[in-house]
Each structure stands twice: as structure tokens, then as C-alpha cells.
Point group: C2
């Protein structure tokens, strides 16, 4: 059973404003909620689940839970096909000063707008063992339900920070390699690349903003495959695809 | 000016059933329509555009066009923010028997469901000079407006066919390498791969179907980056990301 006021509140969490106000976000799906229950770094605020889910799962006593009907679940879910469980989770407080970028690759996202792209990039970063992603302040918020969904659980393992990328890079205690995919960069397959530093991925249509381009010291390019007879060519790769190709390369071919 | 009946008809093209019935699909956006006008292989049936677009562009005399208001355009558009032009395009008739897969890489998609994924895969295939994609019959249709949009114009340069992948592979006149990304495959970075044959990408959650797995003769794996201290790992990469990484590798590192 769930009150109308509570339904309204949960539904409001699709909006950033209310997520911020309530410091909560939504995680849906059996697999993601099961994983969340195992993570000590994430605090579940409330679980709403079908009876079938509640019978098969154990919830620690300190986490409040409610049994809901399929109809109730569909009213609080933002999925087209609701799953059997929905969790409200406390938004964690992370401090960007706690991370030390000097010994590993850190991903930087400049103005990524599409929630599906951000979720897929988090999932990809997780695959390639990237611990931290630093986003520009105008990048879509990580706790957007579409981002959480597309990350396929990887949001639990990769920390996502928001700050001014320019200021962050300008105030590093020591200079580090700053890589970025640019059409005029060095061929990814013909150059050696460092195993640490930053990789910047730019906006879906505008690419990396000019103020950040200036701070890139390793421009790299994923070569376009030129085919005889083709008169027109694509202009770019999708931001997530480009990030995946470069990360895969960085993790397997570092000089 | 556009009639209510015509608006209804154009809106019906978001559904596969009506696209098939009318043999038409929708292309939106200045860039995509400009490119279409240059392509001889694509037949534009009708153009609906704002006055501003019509003033700046030349349309061949044999293509009917109508000036529409912003309000009318928003009624026929399937975009949240409609552009200045929408084209109805005849669905082309392609014959899979016209392609010869023996000398190049052909992509095969097994039950890809997400239109954004298909569009991104087409765009990626275009970047890596793949001419043909063969999809299983249950893969989302290429003329779905979300696929067209996500392909960023690449649908014009990559031919997409639908057939039974199993039958197609079983009836090849000569045996060819059949590659597929599988968790138990050879490390992509530690094995040599052929420069021709098929690369199969599987469904977003189920992967490649068992009947096709049997036909794969080169199982490959994108290595997961193992990081000390991480107790949980992601299960897989997004289908588009995996395809991009393997295609990029195939085009740059073939043995």
C-alpha cells in the first residue's frame, strides 16, 4: 500500500530539482536492487516491491519496505515495462578532492546531454576499470533515471563528479597528460599513449569546448576508414562509441 | 499548407505497419535532407519545410514540396524540437543476393531491439567503411524514425538487409570467417583476425542466439580490465560499444 502523496513524491524524482531537494534517486529492477543491497557505499532509503520479489529476497531490518501491487508499481515506475522492485536511494556526498588522478586514467565529460549516452559511458568506464568520471557542470545529471538505467548497475562502481573542468585542470598540483579525441589529432593506432592522465569526451554535436581544447596536450583521432568510391563520409562517431574505442585502446596498448 | 488527412498520414509513419503499407519513411533535419538531395540512390517523395529553409535551398523540379508553418511542422515531426524541414522518402527495394560478402567485413545484427542502438551501429559501421549490415528478422526496422535520427545520416551510405541469419550463413557459396563477441572468446588484443567475413552483434540482454553461436568460428572477447579491490564487475558492454571497439580493431590491426 502506498499513499497518493508518496506516489507523487516518487514520481517527482524524475526531475533534478526534486532529487536535489529530497536528496534521493530511484533505482529500478531486480538485478540493480540486489546489487545495491550488497554495496556498503550506497544507502537505500526505501524499497517498494511486488510480493513475489519480497518472498524471494532478504532485506536488512533497517531498510523500510512496502509491498505494492503491480498497478501501484506502474504508477511509481518510470519504465515502460515496470520490473518487480523499485528502490529510493540516498544521493551520496562525494568530495572531488578525495580523488587522486595522478596514477590512473580519469574520464572527463564535457557537456554530455543525452542520458543514455552518459549511462552507456559509465558502463563502459566500469568495464575498463575507470574509477572516476569528472563531468562539466552542464553535463546531464548522473541520478537521472535514464542514466541510472542505461548504466546497467555500473553507477554503483564508478564515481561521477561535477565541477568546472577548466578550473580543475588548471589547478592540478602536477601537470598530467590530457587526451582528447579531435579530428586533427594523432592516429590512435600509430602513436604511443600514456597510461595515466585525463581523457576528455565532448558534447554530442559540438565536441569539446574551445576553452578545454586549449588544455589538451595529446590530441588523438580514431581513423576514418576510407573506402574507394564513397563520395560522402560520416562527420563523427557517437560520443560513447569514441570513448569506448579509446578506453579499450588505452587499457590494452599503452606504450 | 497541409491537410489534416496528410498530417495524420505522416504521423502514421512512426509505425512500421504504415511505413510498409505506404512504402515511405521520414527524414528530418537540415543536414540529413541536404545530403539526401545529393544522393541518387534515394528518392524523395515530398518535402515539407519552413519558408526560411525553402529560401535557402534548391529542390529539383520533380520533387513536390510544401511550405509549412512552425506549428504545422511540429504536428508532423516526431522530434521534441522540430527542425526546419521534413522529407518523406520512398523505402528502397534492395536484394540481399546483390551483395558479395566474400571480400570485406559484413556486420550481422541478431535481434537488436533499441532503435538508438541500431542507429548508432549504422553510424559506426559507416565510419569504419562497412557497406552492408544484415539483420535478423526480429531486429528493429531501419526506417523507424529513431533509428534514422540516431544514424546521423549514415543510413544513406550503409545498406541494411533483413533475413534469417542462420539460413544466410548456412547457404554461403564458400565458407567465410564468422566472428562474434563472446565472454569465452579469444582476447581481441592477443589474436590475429581476418579482414573479411562476418561480425555478429547480439541482442542487448540475451547476446547472440544459440543457433548462431554454433555458426561462429572465431569467438572474440574484449578484455575486462581487472582492478584490484573491485569485488563486483560489469557483466557486459553495450552492444554498440562492443561493435565499435571490434570494428575499429578489425580496420586497424588485421593480421
Amino acid at each position: 500500500m502506498i499513499t497518493a502523496a508518496r506516489i507523487k513524491q516518487i514520481r517527482s524524482l524524475t526531475q533534478k530539482k526534486f532529487r536535489k531537494e529530497l536528496s534521493l534517486f530511484v533505482v529500478e529492477g531486480e538485478k540493480a536492487v540486489s546489487e545495491l543491497l550488497l554495496h556498503k557505499n550506497w544507502e537505500i532509503n526505501h524499497i517498494y516491491a511486488l510480493e513475489s520479489w519480497l518472498i524471494e529476497n532478504t532485506i536488512p531490518g533497517n531498510i523500510p519496505s512496502d509491498r505494492v501491487s503491480e498497478k501501484e508499481l506502474s504508477r511509481i515506475s518510470s519504465l515502460t515495462t515496470p520490473n518487480s522492485v523499485l528502490a529510493l536511494v540516498n544521493i551520496p556526498v562525494w568530495n572531488i578532492n578525495d580523488i587522486n588522478p595522478s596514477g590512473d586514467i580519469t574520464l572527463m565529460l564535457d557537456n554530455i546531454q543525452d542520458p543514455g549516452n552518459l549511462g552507456t559511458i559509465i558502463r563502459t568506464a566500469d568495464w575498463f576499470g575507470i574509477d572516476n568520471i569528472i563531468c562539466s557542470e552542464n553535463t546531464v545529471e548522473v541520478f537521472n533515471p535514464k542514466v541510472i538505467q542505461a548504466s546497467m548497475g555500473s553507477f554503483m562502481r564508478v564515481k561521477v563528479f561535477y565541477t568546472s573542468l577548466k578550473k580543475y585542470l588548471e589547478n592540478l598540483p602536477e601537470p598530467l597528460p590530457v587526451m582528447g579525441a579531435m579530428l586533427d589529432g594523432e592516429d590512435l593506432y600509430k602513436t604511443g599513449l600514456p597510461g595515466r592522465g585525463f581523457l576528455i569526451t565532448g558534447n554530442e554535436s559540438q565536441g569539446i569546448s574551445p576553452e578545454l581544447v586549449k588544455l589538451i596536450n595529446r590530441k588523438i583521432r580514431i581513423p576514418l576508414f576510407h573506402k574507394a568510391g564513397k563520395t560522402q563520409q560520416p562527420e563523427s562517431l557517437n560520443a560513447g562509441i569514441a570513448t569506448g574505442i579509446i578506453l579499450s585502446h588505452l587499457r590494452n596498448y599503452v606504450s
